[in-house]
Every structure is written in structure tokens, then in C-alpha cells.
């Protein structure tokens, strides 16, 4: 036991050494370094050594179509983006440690080094840039409206007068409705999934938030054919990948996102995860990667 532990420590030490040596160069180099380190051991420490090439990625666990945990499986657009980025950084999908990143905790998770990346419908804003470095954007979402499939009156934000909308307490979309559309009645719940039964029963007329999130719900099997997105998106939310402030990973993530869009994997991921809702990404997609990791 003691020897195994020693081996593991040796592997870790070797890895940190090689990492320090080659700085931000190539990630495959560090992987090789790790292997050499464990090579001296009997092999038992090999797994421990390999753990160092893992990534801790914060995603949503409860957002169908974007980041959803079902048992041990993680599905959704954010998950596919995260896996692609990890692949570009030389990390196997199996070596990703998924961490739940609820909206209010995303900055804290990065600042306290609990995750390396956050890919969780994370809109790039100036306030957040003070605490984390953003790569991306990898998607341009916009506030949309989810209505019952037979709804004809609601066709966009101008047709909402007197209607009852549902959103999440305190969220940006909820605030926008309250500020800019005073004639709208706003029911707020803790999560969007709580809005759904009330929408289907007719007590509320529409759910509003980012169109990606809405499409994720509409694409779920149990709501097939019952819901649709109405009108064009009426705001712009630029989803970025959050990295620790000043992290060297950030530029590499930018390159990975560019590669994903170029290769067509981006288009495929949108189709795979949100396509069932007849969802077409709004204007500006696929986005240009313009964040400078400041």
C-alpha cells in the first residue's frame, strides 16, 4: 500500500514537473510526461497518474437538451461542447469529471478551483468577466417564448399584453419581462420544469427564457407535439466557456471551439440535442469566437 502510494506521489510529482517545464505548450507533451513518471512504478500507480490529465467541467445537471444527468449518463449540447473541447485538449471523455454548476455558483466554483471549465448556459457579461475569463462564445442564444402547440395569439414579444408568462425567480429573462413588458403577468417558479405543467393546463400562456433551454424542454419525449417555440428571439445571450481568471486553458478552449464549428461537429451537436424541437439556432449562429480571455 505504502509503495503504491509512493508511486502515485512520484507520478504526480513527475507530472507537475513536466507541466512546469513545458508551460502552456502542447497538452500531449504533459500526457507523455505523466506516462514516463508512472513507468517507473509497478503500474498500480498508473491510474493515479492518468488522473492528472483529467478535466473538471461544471455543467448543468437538470437542463434537458443542454446539460442533463440521467443516472451515470450526461447528455445535451453543453455536454457535447465540453467533450469536444476536452478532446482537443487531449483529455478522453472518460476522464472528464462532471461537476454540477448551478447558475448562482458558477463564479465561485471557478474561483475556488473546484472546476477547470464551466460549460453551463453561461452568458458572457462584464460583471462576470471581473471574476472569470471567458472563452467563446460557442452559441448565441436569445430570449424566446415556449407556447402550447395550438397557441395562435402569441407570435412574439409584442403580442404578450395581458398574458401570463412563467420564468425562474430572479433570472435575467424574468427581469427583462418585468422591466420592459409591464402589461405582462409574470409567474415565477424555482425551475423551468415547474412552469411546464401550468403551461400545459392553460393556467399560464407561455414560458420565457433562452430559446436553447426552451427547445431542450420541447425536445423531451414526453412533450413531443405539445409545445412549440413562438417568434424570433428578442435578446442576445452569448454563451461562453468559463475558465479560471487568467487561466492558460482559455486560449486553447477558444481554438477548440473554432475547430468544432469548422469541422461541423457543432452543427451536428445542435441537431442531436435540440433538433427534435424543430429548433433552428437564431441569427449569429454559428458564432465567431471573439472573446480574448481577458
Amino acid at each position: 500500500m505504502f509503495i503504491r502510494r509512493l508511486g502515485a506521489i512520484g507520478a504526480v510529482a513527475a507530472l507537475t514537473f513536466t507541466m512546469a517545464a513545458c508551460g502552456s505548450d502542447d497538452t500531449t507533451d504533459t500526457a507523455d510526461g505523466g506516462d514516463t513518471g508512472t513507468g517507473e512504478d509497478t503500474g498500480a500507480g498508473g491510474d493515479d497518474g492518468a488522473m492528472m490529465d483529467s478535466l473538471r467541467i461544471g455543467i448543468k445537471f437538470d437542463q434537458p437538451g443542454l446539460g442533463l444527468r440521467e443516472g451515470d449518463a450526461y447528455t445535451g449540447f453543453d455536454v457535447q461542447v465540453a467533450e469536444y473541447i476536452a478532446g482537443q485538449l487531449g483529455v478522453d471523455a472518460a476522464n472528464i469529471e462532471w461537476v454540477e454548476a448551478p447558475s448562482a455558483q458558477r463564479e465561485t466554483l471557478l474561483e475556488t478551483d473546484q472546476v477547470d471549465l464551466v460549460v453551463a448556459t453561461y452568458s458572457i457579461t462584464d460583471e462576470r468577466k471581473e471574476r472569470v475569463s471567458f472563452a467563446g462564445p460557442y452559441f448565441i442564444a436569445g430570449q424566446g417564448l415556449l407556447v402550447r402547440a395550438d397557441e395562435t395569439e402569441i407570435t412574439g414579444p409584442d403580442t404578450l399584453e395581458g398574458k401570463v408568462l412563467c420564468s425562474v425567480t430572479g433570472s435575467t429573462p424574468a427581469q427583462r419581462i418585468a422591466d420592459e413588458y409591464p402589461g405582462v403577468q409574470l409567474q415565477e417558479y424555482g425551475t423551468y420544469s415547474e412552469c411546464l405543467p401550468a403551461l400545459l393546463s392553460g393556467q399560464i400562456d407561455a414560458i420565457t427564457t433562452d430559446d436553447t433551454i426552451l427547445a431542450g424542454y420541447a425536445a423531451q419525449d414526453q412533450y413531443a407535439g405539445q409545445l412549440k417555440l413562438a417568434g424570433e428571439p428578442f435578446s442576445e445571450e452569448r454563451y461562453g466557456v468559463g475558465t479560471q481568471k487568467g487561466s492558460e486553458l482559455c486560449q486553447e478552449v477558444n481554438a477548440a471551439i473554432e475547430a468544432m464549428i469548422e469541422e461541423g461537429a457543432w452543427e451536428q451537436a445542435v441537431q442531436d440535442t435540440l433538433g427534435a424541437a424543430d429548433f433552428t439556432p437564431g441569427p449569429g449562429n454559428p458564432p465567431e469566437v471573439v472573446e480574448d480571455c481577458a
Binding site: T169, T172, Q185, L186, E188, Y189, P197, S201, Q203
Partner: protein, 225 residues
């Protein structure tokens, strides 16, 4: 920090919290007193009803009760507590359901506090009341309950403090009280300790005087025996 204090209507949000706590306190006091009477009544059926109510609601999370009121009773079954035409239909409806939910939940605790108050009244008092020919209702309302309330003031104060803090749960069913505003601020300003401390301080300011007041009341009003 100054930005946060000037930009957001924190006092307004706490005023909503106070209103919520005030109406829920009245509701739970009325319902809790009825339940306490049930639990000490000589009728077995009433005693069982009281005991079942207390055991069920006391052991159900408040979040669940409020979600049930707002989502099941209003959202799915459509029992609205405000007229649909009203411009504040949703807000009023949510507030009223929140008062009902909070009252239902805290009535169980009020009932138990009162029952502990009843237990402070010596058996001799009840026997004496019966001996001079008072009915159950008369002896309860004239002899037992007045003393029970005076003996139960301290635990009732604890229930009220818990109630004030529990109003934060109503944020998840659309009541624009303090916790809902805290979510808004965290969303806009990124969560920081300052925001947390502002709201923690707000609740301390609300609950500390309640605690002090009830403690001194309980001393002044205690039945000297």
C-alpha cells in the same frame, strides 16, 4: 455595496416579507388554536384529527407544501385566489397562496406550542372549573386557554421567528419578498458575500426584536404560581 443598496428596493422586499409574516402569523395562530382545542378535547375523533394534522404537516417540508399550493392547486387545477382581470392577478394570487401555505405549515407548530402551554395549567384548575359546573367549552375559554396562552408565549415567539425566516421559501412561488430580490441581485451582480450579509442582517433586524419582545412578554405575563 452602496450601488446595491441604492439600485434595488431592498426595503420594499423586506416590507413584503413583513406582510407575508404578519398575515401568516394570524392565519397560523387561528388555525393552530383550533387544532390545540381539538387535541385537548374529550372527543377522541377530534383528538385524532388534531394529532394527524400535526404529524402530517409538521413532517412535510414547507417547500413541498408551497409548491403543492402554487403548482398543483393553482397551476394545474386552476384554483386562483385573485380575479383574472386584475393587473396584479399573478402577484396577488401567489401572495395569498403563500399565506395559506405558511399558515397551514406553522399551525402545526402553534398547536404544539399551545398544547405545551395547556400542560403548564395544573390539573386542579380544570377539575375546579368542572366542579363549579362549567362546560368543556366554558372551562377551556374562561380558565384553561387564557393561562395556556400566557404560558406558551416563549415557544410561540420561537414559532414566529421561524415563520419570519421561512417566508423566504415563498420566493419560489412568485412572491416578490426578500429572498426573491436576493436572487435578482445575485443574478445581476454575481453572487458575493456582501449580498449575503445584507440579507442576513435584514433578517436579524426583523427577528432579534421579536425574540427580545417575546422573552420579556413571557416573563411579564407568566402566571405566578
Amino acid at each position: 455595496m452602496i450601488d446595491i443598496l441604492t439600485e434595488y428596493d431592498i426595503l420594499g422586499a423586506f416590507w413584503k416579507t413583513i406582510q407575508l409574516a404578519f398575515f401568516s402569523a394570524i392565519g397560523s395562530l387561528v388555525l393552530g388554536t383550533i387544532l390545540a382545542v381539538f387535541r385537548v378535547s374529550p372527543v377522541a375523533v377530534l383528538r385524532n384529527i388534531g394529532a394527524s394534522y400535526v404529524n402530517i404537516t409538521r413532517n412535510t417540508p414547507l417547500t413541498l407544501i408551497l409548491i403543492f399550493c402554487s403548482l398543483a392547486l393553482f397551476g394545474v387545477l386552476g384554483y386562483a385566489l385573485a380575479p383574472r382581470e386584475s393587473p396584479t392577478y399573478i402577484v396577488d394570487n401567489a401572495f395569498r397562496w403563500a399565506v395559506i401555505g405558511l399558515s397551514i405549515y406553522h399551525a402545526a407548530f402553534v398547536c404544539e406550542a399551545l398544547r405545551s402551554g395547556v400542560n403548564t395549567v395544573p390539573v386542579g384548575q380544570a377539575e375546579a372549573a368542572r366542579a363549579i359546573g362549567l362546560t368543556f367549552g366554558q372551562s377551556l375559554s374562561q380558565v384553561i386557554l387564557p393561562q395556556a396562552f400566557r404560558g406558551a408565549i416563549a415557544p410561540l415567539g420561537s414559532v414566529l421567528i421561524a415563520l419570519i425566516k421561512n417566508t423566504t421559501v415563498a420566493a419560489i412561488i412568485s412572491v416578490p419578498e426578500a429572498a426573491a430580490l436576493m436572487r435578482v441581485i445575485i443574478e445581476n451582480e454575481t453572487g458575493s458575500l456582501i449580498v449575503f450579509f445584507i440579507f442576513a442582517l435584514g433578517f436579524v433586524i426583523l427577528t432579534l426584536p421579536v425574540g427580545i419582545g417575546f422573552t420579556s412578554l413571557s416573563r411579564r405575563l407568566a402566571v405566578k404560581r
